[in-house]
Amino acid sequence: MKRAPLEAPRLVLGVASLALPVRATRDRQLEIANRFEESESLAVALVKGVAAGAEAVLAPPTQDVHDALAELPKPLPILARVPHLWPSDDLLWEPALFFDPGEDNGANGWDAKRAGAAAMNLLPMGLAGDLASRVLPRIEREALQFNAKALRGIVISSVVTDLALAANQPRFIDRLIRFARQRRWLVGVETRNLGHLLTRLGAWGVAPDMVFGPVNPRGVGMMPDSQSVLTAMASSQIKVIATELRAGGMIALHEGAEWARRHGAWGVCAELVDMDDVPKELKSLVVRPAA
């Protein structure tokens, strides 16, 4: 049966706040980490979130997430946030992405089996050092840790996106898009610099299916500044999924989501750390079709 083309989701449940520092108070992060310590608790939140109207779960490939998903009898729609970089890597002198934790067995840092047959057209990292060759095997490996039936697409984590942005590398985004589309995955990019990225994507002439970035009424995390982000959103054709809706906890979730949509966001991504009652609050964010 031919698979219907996927569309960028309007409402996403994000779970990255379980593993990564986010713009919320430390007490709040610790509270959420404690609440979802048991995989059953996280599994219930995820399945209820999807039942309430989340069209996808934006999930890093961490053991907590895999354990929670394994509790469920049916797959949930997943957008894999990859590659996953651990906060504790900041002890390393070398830059993020310099090492690939999955490539320690290959003769020259290359393990074709793990990288996947489809990645064989890429040169070994030691020989071809461009960003795409370095990152795509890891992205594929981490994405394929999710159930193939569940995986709707990939969202490239901001560390990689913003590196390509700063290095002015349209080729990376272009290769990423082709890589994902060959696998019939949606392809999104996460950024902490939404205004800069939308402007560059327009100039580069490349268009991922969606861009995840901060949009909120307080302008928190909107780079280079809030007005530039709004201007870039207004002039870009690329679908923006708004993140950081609560502006670091300063405003209500529904207020942030409504504001982001009113200012041109295609969809919104509510993080676990943003919600006390996941199904109830997600349900309030579902866009109802006009009667």
Partner: protein
């Protein structure tokens, strides 16, 4: 399209006009910090990354592969033989940093050194001597001095020797089980240096310390408790630990109390309960200096550009003299730990 709300406009930092000529920047040291600086300068409209210096071929290849096209050399000397620059950013390991600073100063470059406060005393001494002979701007980059709640606490004067008589400070993060922990990267240079920078910026120079340290899982320090005495006579209890579970990011807290009342400031929020200073602000509500987000460097880069334009607040935050003082305090803390907690004077 609607204009930003009043709330959004309040959150927005007012950026100064761009300088007529862009600052031509060479980044030396292409580790994690160096690449962060390269990204932040590349995205800054007042600067241009014109080159890189890195002795390790694998790191040069990595950065080239990422897409940075500016000329790269293994040494600053070779780079400068062929090209010109205005600013040198030193992000190299301490063992290479002093040579780079000396060479950069000799070539007439403005110099910004990353991580100066945690460098060994001998390196700090050489860098200080080199900087003293420079006629161009010199600075030490530390993002913690641009952290908005601590910056506001200093700006209001609440976090100062005038308003508090007792101080407790702590820095925590979860790193102790990391296989990456090693003698050259312990809790002192990873965590305590930043906290000491904040304390120096708030209360002035530390003149003596008595410190104890614990090695929990290896040959390096995982926890440290320090009693610090400032030149003003103020004393502080300072704790640093990277053995705190569930803290993926660093948490810093400074609490002060005095006859006027109490202040507590962390990277989350600032609370002042004093007769003359009242209020609570959260970090997200504070305007940010940065125009790009990624790593620790964007605020430092914006601060550097403003310092070159004559901004005294940014110049103060980037004070090399403070970073050098803290490097000596850190060295004294290590001596005190080795002497089982006996009090040691900080020799300047």
């Amino acid at each position: 399209m609607a204009l930003p709300t009043t709330a959004m406009a309040e959150n927005r930092e007012q950026h100064p006009a761009e300088p007529a000529a862009r600052d031509r920047v060479v980044v030396a040291g292409l580790g994690r910090a160096g690449l962060d600086y390269a990204c932040a300068f590349a995205m800054h409209s007042g600067a241009e990354v014109v080159g890189f210096v890195e002795p390790r071929g694998d790191l040069r290849r990595f950065v080239r592969g990422v897409g940075f096209a500016a000329p790269m050399e293994a040494s600053l000397g070779r780079w400068l033989e062929k090209r010109a620059a205005d600013t040198l950013i030193v992000c190299s390991p301490a063992a290479e940093a002093a040579d780079l600073v000396e060479r950069g100063v000799h070539a007439g470059l403005a110099v910004l050194v990353h991580g100066l406060a945690s460098m060994p005393r001998e390196t700090a001494d050489r860098i200080e001597a080199a900087m003293a002979s420079s006629g161009r701007p010199v600075a030490a980059g530390a993002a913690v001095l641009f952290q908005p709640t601590f910056a506001r606490a200093r700006r209001t004067g609440a976090l100062s020797a005038e308003h508090v008589q007792q101080v407790r400070a702590s820095a925590s993060v979860s790193r102790v089980f990391s296989p990456l922990a090693q003698p050259s990267r312990d809790v002192l240079d990873f965590l305590l240096a930043d906290l000491l920078l904040l304390l120096d910026a708030s209360f002035g120079p530390i003149v003596s310390v008595a410190a104890k340290g614990q090695r929990l899982y290896g040959d390096w320090l995982d926890e440290c408790q320090t009693d610090a005495r400032f030149a003003s006579g103020l004393t502080a209890k300072v704790e640093a630990s990277w053995s705190v579970p569930d803290y993926p990011g660093t948490a810093m807290v400074i609490e002060g109390s005095g006859p006027e009342g109490r202040i507590i400031v962390s990277d989350d929020a600032l609370e002042m309960d004093m007769a003359s200073l009242q209020g609570r602000v959260v970090a997200a509500s504070e305007p940010t200096l940065a125009r790009f987000e990624g790593g620790d460097s964007p605020t430092v880069v914006e601060g550097w550009q403003r310092m070159l334009a004559g901004d005294p607040v940014c110049a103060e935050a980037l004070s090399a003299a403070r970073a050098l003082r803290v490097a000596r305090v850190l060295d004294t803390v290590r001596q005190s730990v080795a002497a089982d907690g006996s009090e040691r004077e900080v020799v300047s």
